[in-house]
Symmetry: C2
Subunit: 353 residues, 2 copies
């Protein structure tokens, strides 16, 4: 069945039923002109982000479930990056009217699982036809007793990240070789290719083994890399809020996001290449792909790990990668040599890579 | 100059400079991972809406200034429709990288004028490339001591609207005849057709007189109709908040939006055709176009007038169009005959008109 056979109103009704949730803070949820919530805590945090077909994703490479999961995660990540707790989600979805109903069902499955994971509530949004591809945007509202800006870093602060870098970019490089969606969700979804766009044909569901052995890689190696790209989980900053002086999430690549943090804080940074956390899977897959793993880790982007600073005397349970300096921005290589770095990473509208 | 020559970061910097505004409630504005505001008042209202090229607008018919103004207005209208006062705006903008810089400048001029009109603050958003057309989405956050749902209407309540209906739909019909952008903003902008998409060529700026005399219409007649479509002003509900029992803004057409209100309130409605407010300009232009003005007023859509109900004993300074009944939904024509109505209006994904 296609969207054109269902219509906006039916779809809206389904969403209302699907995302019904009682919360003492939500006064009016989906379905009115605006959502109404009761403010609480000291600060209200608000963020919004888009995911656009052909720019942020290729529908030949991502399943609708993963797409739904991802649009929630990347927005939650921004609230986390401010030290907040996410509470509410609004979703704008523009889709071609020939989109298959099953595509939408899976999309909402992914959204629902992400909402559950982050313990948030869908309170509104907008549905629209689109003459071209699918585009999604989400707004997330969170609260915090405290907030952590990008601008709070001081000279001497240590720089930390919350996990391995480069996995997501390597996952994307793998997908470009594999050239089809990879099911990470469980159970794997039945194929569907009837009744509209966005179908997953049976052939796309064949096991990847032959493709992987062609590449000389095992499922065990590629799975975490693909997962980090297709279904990134945002990192909760709870443990770091007390000590962090500045924070940002790594969406465009470590170096560009660290540059942003430095710009806002008016400081420099020294990063030790030996300290950049890289998964064994990244090292293995990158070498098979003929890409430098450290390049992916430094400027691959879409890591959705947190990058933050804390005073040197504080004990922080995260990965120490360098320190804040007065003004120079350098990477120290394994031989101890310093090399200046600039804001390498993805920039919309300009082809920087 | 094109977007591809400027890049996302420069553009972001410009937006930050352009929309800088001190507010005691905004703790962190544009430029961090999320905006931070101080909650106040009893209820927090949140809404989000999209405007997509080829679906909601045709860039041959609307100037970038008008587009910017409109995306703010339609979102503000939703906050007003809940009885709230808008405070904060977040904007998502996806544009082709070949978009002319001047297009963006004008777009922001329109956004800025709308923000000033509604006394709100831009606190965040997202910029992205788009492989196709321009798509905009906005999120507006407002506050209220009280909120007015769609579901509060009771039998016997009177039904009101805040202004003339059908003007916007008639304006759109006129644009389809005029087939080019019409400058309503002052001063009219200089033509630009160099350096990218979205240019307004000099020929498009020629006076409309010849086209209008062809249609047999004067500028005085068409101007308010075009303005209502291209630069709708949202209606502030301040005067009605005390007495309104239910409220919605008319975006998809009186009958579909009244049906929504009836569905939510589990009531019927009787609407008097003779009471439907129609401007003299609508009557004049519609007859020249060969369209029924009452059809435009009942189901044209994009009116952005408020539709609300209030108890019959309350004095309300708005246009009385009918009353809430137990369950039947009827229109009473000029001869006093009742005819049932259903939810006629625009529905995404389905071609209803």
């Amino acid at each position: 069945m296609k969207l054109s056979q269902i219509g906006e109103l039916f779809l809206l009704e389904e969403i209302r039923k699907n995302f019904k949730k009682k919360s003492k803070h939500v006064v009016v949820g989906i379905g009115d002109d605006a959502a109404v919530v009761r403010p609480h805590d000291k600060y209200l945090l608000i963020t919004t982000d888009m995911i656009i077909e052909g720019v942020h994703f290729d529908s030949n490479f991502i399943t609708p479930y993963q797409l739904g999961f991802k649009v929630v995660s990347v927005n939650i990540s921004d609230i986390y990056a401010m030290g907040g707790k996410p509470f509410y989600l609004l979703l704008n979805i523009a889709m071609n009217k020939n989109t298959a109903k099953k595509f939408i069902d899976r999309l909402f499955d992914g959204i629902k699982d992400a909402i559950r994971l982050y313990d948030t509530t869908l309170i509104g949004g907008d549905l629209s036809a689109s003459n071209v591809g699918t585009s999604l945007s989400a707004t997330v509202i969170g609260y915090g007793e405290k907030y952590i800006k990008r601008s709070g870093a001081s000279r001497g602060d240590k720089i930390y990240v919350t996990g391995n870098l480069g996995d997501s970019a390597c996952g994307l490089a793998l997908l470009k070789k594999i050239k089809r969606p990879v099911f990470l969700e469980k159970p794997p979804l039945p194929p569907f290719n009837k009744g509209g766009q966005g179908g997953i044909t049976k052939s796309k569901l064949q096991p990847l083994n032959s493709k992987l052995s062609e590449l000389g890689l095992s499922w065990k190696t590629v799975e975490p890399l693909l997962r980090r790209h297709l279904m990134p989980e945002a990192r909760n900053p709870k443990k770091f809020i007390k000590n962090a002086t500045s924070m940002i999430d790594i969406s465009d690549g470590l170096l560009i996001d660290l540059s942003r943090l430095c710009n806002e804080s008016k400081v420099g940074a020294r990063v030790y290449i030996n300290n950049i956390p890289q998964s064994p899977e990244l090292k293995k897959a990158a070498s098979f792909l003929g890409i430098s793993p450290i390049k992916l880790a430094l400027s691959g982007g879409e890591d959705y790990e947190l990058l933050f600073t804390a005073p040197p005397q504080k004990k922080v349970k995260a990965i120490y990668i360098g320190e804040i300096t007065e003004s120079d921005r350098v990477i120290v290589d394994s031989s101890g040599k310093e090399k200046p770095f600039s804001a390498e990473g993805y920039q919309h509208f300009i082809n920087t890579k």
